[in-house]
Point group: C2
Chain length 160, copies 2
């Protein structure tokens, strides 16, 4: 896939997150994209990401929702400000809170599809709601309150 | 440590969970113990479990809270029924919902200490509330609603 993901625009020095950092060789390296007004992430779980046999471990589901939501929050804030994603100053978000309701066990044969809607943008806060499906079966719902990382966190070189 | 953890009592065929299965060689293999009425888990994050540099990735924190809580729910239900942990029929729990509030970034130097209290046991439901600290600093709070796995899930051989 040649299309750039939200995470491909993260500054290099903050691209080591286990969930979404493209430079973390041990991590999940999720990739998120716009599909009109929804943000989508497809993830293929590994066999060892199991909970009870045959089903995906809930911690992975929470992790995917978490990182996909912070990426979506940043992309949405760029849109909201009428800016191209990745332009400086960088917009990055951290999770203030996450809630996941596990509705059905998610078959590990995957792929897992996360489809998110931004339900609120206010000041430094962005709320992202997500549905996780496997082959059309709704398995989990998530809600993340993401908060923008203060600008002074980034190196000055990035503030051009 | 020679003391048996909650997870050491899980039946072999349900001990492959990425978070808490002692037989999952890729997983976190968390271990939980009673400390009087609280359940405690100590986890040493790996350097690659980072979020922003120097701090623990939130998905790991959610994963630890998740699996530690389901283990605690089972141990608490055994206690509640006046039974020795690990006796048959097996008591195992799945997560119905998880909520995590991230209060401060958790330094990755660790160790992470999870300390949980069971706040409700009603029918098949157990609610577990957790505080996660690093060197005494409260970094996250979690709440898990755990639901008992139906008995018919286990093999008949385990129902003696």
């Amino acid at each position: 896939m040649t299309q750039k993901a939200f995470q491909d625009y993260y500054d290099e020095d903050v691209s080591h997150c286990y969930g979404c950092g493209r430079l973390n060789n041990h991590g999940l390296r999720i990739r998120s994209f716009w599909d009109n007004d929804q943000a989508v992430c497809i993830y293929y779980p590994n066999p060892y990401h199991s909970a009870i046999p045959g089903y995906v471990y809930g911690g992975l589901i929470a992790s995917l929702i978490d990182c996909h939501s912070t990426g979506t929050a940043a992309a949405a804030k760029y849109r909201h400000e009428g800016r191209e994603i990745g332009t400086k100053p960088s917009l990055r978000f951290l999770t203030a809170s996450i809630n996941v309701d596990f509705l059905k066990p998610a078959p590990i044969k995957g792929p897992l599809e996360l489809r998110s809607t931004v339900t609120e943008i206010k000041g430094r806060k962005v709320v992202v709601e997500t549905q996780l499906t496997v082959d059309g079966l709704l398995c989990a719902k998530g809600k993340v309150v993401a908060v923008q990382v203060p600008e002074h966190f980034f190196n000055n070189k990035d503030q051009k």
